[in-house]
Chain length 206, copies 2
DNA sequence: AACCCCTCTCTTACGGCGTAAGACGATTAT
DNA sequence: ATAATCGTCTTACGCCGTAAGAGAGGGGTT
């Protein structure tokens, strides 16, 4: 019954490592405990339940995303999108979680509010502003899903299972280059993002 | 030990009903069996395992999406996006699954190939074509996630938990109208989709 | 009729899961 | 030294997915 010097942060860190390594599906309280040299129930001293661990991972990851709504909105939106993308790519195993948890922490709401206010100053009305934000955010999630797509339990970006190059010549050609380097992905991301941002504007006004 | 007249289709239908009603997390083989008046193990005669049930649900839902790459590409892309959106909205509980399973069924690949070929005729090269397709598809997923967003186990679109209208005036105003009618959502969807499509074009050519 | 065989369903069992309840050492405060 | 608090462990319950195989019921062949 030696004390191990645990803390909520250490629990979350170990959980993040485990999830990065083996996927969300592989995270269990017992395994997480084993990882930390402790029985499963001990974790409940630091965390109310397993869902709180998952929420903690999401919050932690989102905390790295910088949102500074200053200057021309398309520019800070682009910076936000880039930083969001980087955060997601750093922990792609979390995507299934992130994609389905609405922003609801106090910090998240504050950030949301600041961005919305900045957009209102640009001539968007309140609900347009919110829509712009969710559109950009979900766009990023979607792009990263496509870029790093992986099934929850199954980590490797499969080389496409049953696939006949004769039957699917264009796909075959597109996949031939291995879908491109990280730079290619970044280029395509920026390109599509610009396309989206260019089209988003207040219904009336500049 | 009366025979019940089951079939893979009936199993999937019951699973879909259950998931629509209670969420993905609530789907268990035992419960699904109960639903069908049968012991859990009986299901394994029709389906190799639980993952196959989930895959079946996704495939079934995707089968309703029409893709007819004919005429101007932006027009059929718009039709595709609309039909995809409708299919997702019909079963929002499946979103967490759909968002993380790559297209890999033979039918899905054929459809993908046809769309890619049509885009190549418009001047996109092969990998650009694939990117356009995934961009539009993930855009739709993202929009529907935002529109119908719900956590796996927890079905109701929460009225936002802890939230102080003083602290978040713009958000409060945006949410005041209940975020809008289905038509509002459709309008915003179409608006953002047009913004995106307008910006997507072959790197060289018309 | 009797037989067999195939199709379908059930029983039992195992190892894992999340977590409620509470016992019990170890540390700290008094 | 005694008491309070903290951190950890033990035990237990009811779920889960599914492996293995037993057995019931009906159809086809003799």
């Amino acid at each position: 019954m030696k004390r191990v010097g645990l803390s909520r942060e250490k629990v979350l860190q170990a959980a993040l490592d485990l999830v990065d390594r083996e996927g969300v599906a592989a995270l269990s309280m017992r395994k997480l405990g084993r990882e930390l040299g402790v029985e499963a129930m001990t974790l409940y001293y630091y965390v109310p339940n397993k869902d709180a661990v998952l929420d903690g991972l999401v919050e932690r990851t989102l905390a790295d995303v910088e949102v500074r709504p200053e200057g021309p909105w398309r520019e800070w939106a682009r910076r936000f999108a880039g930083s969001f993308r980087a955060a997601l790519l750093a922990h792609p195993a979390l995507l299934p979680l992130l994609a389905t948890r609405p922003v609801s922490t106090p910090g998240g709401l504050d950030t949301l509010e600041r961005a919305a206010q900045a957009l209102v100053k640009e001539g968007f009305d309140a609900s347009e502003a919110l829509h712009v934000i969710t559109t950009v955010a979900t766009f990023v999630i979607g792009q990263v899903l496509a870029e790093a797509g992986r099934t929850p339990g199954h980590d490797e970006p499969e080389p496409v299972p049953d696939f006949d190059a004769e039957r699917h010549p264009v796909l075959a050609q597109a996949l031939a280059g291995g879908l491109g380097t990280p730079e290619d992905h970044r280029d395509r991301f920026d390109f599509a993002l610009d396309a989206l941002l260019a089209g988003l504007r207040p219904r009336q006004g500049p």
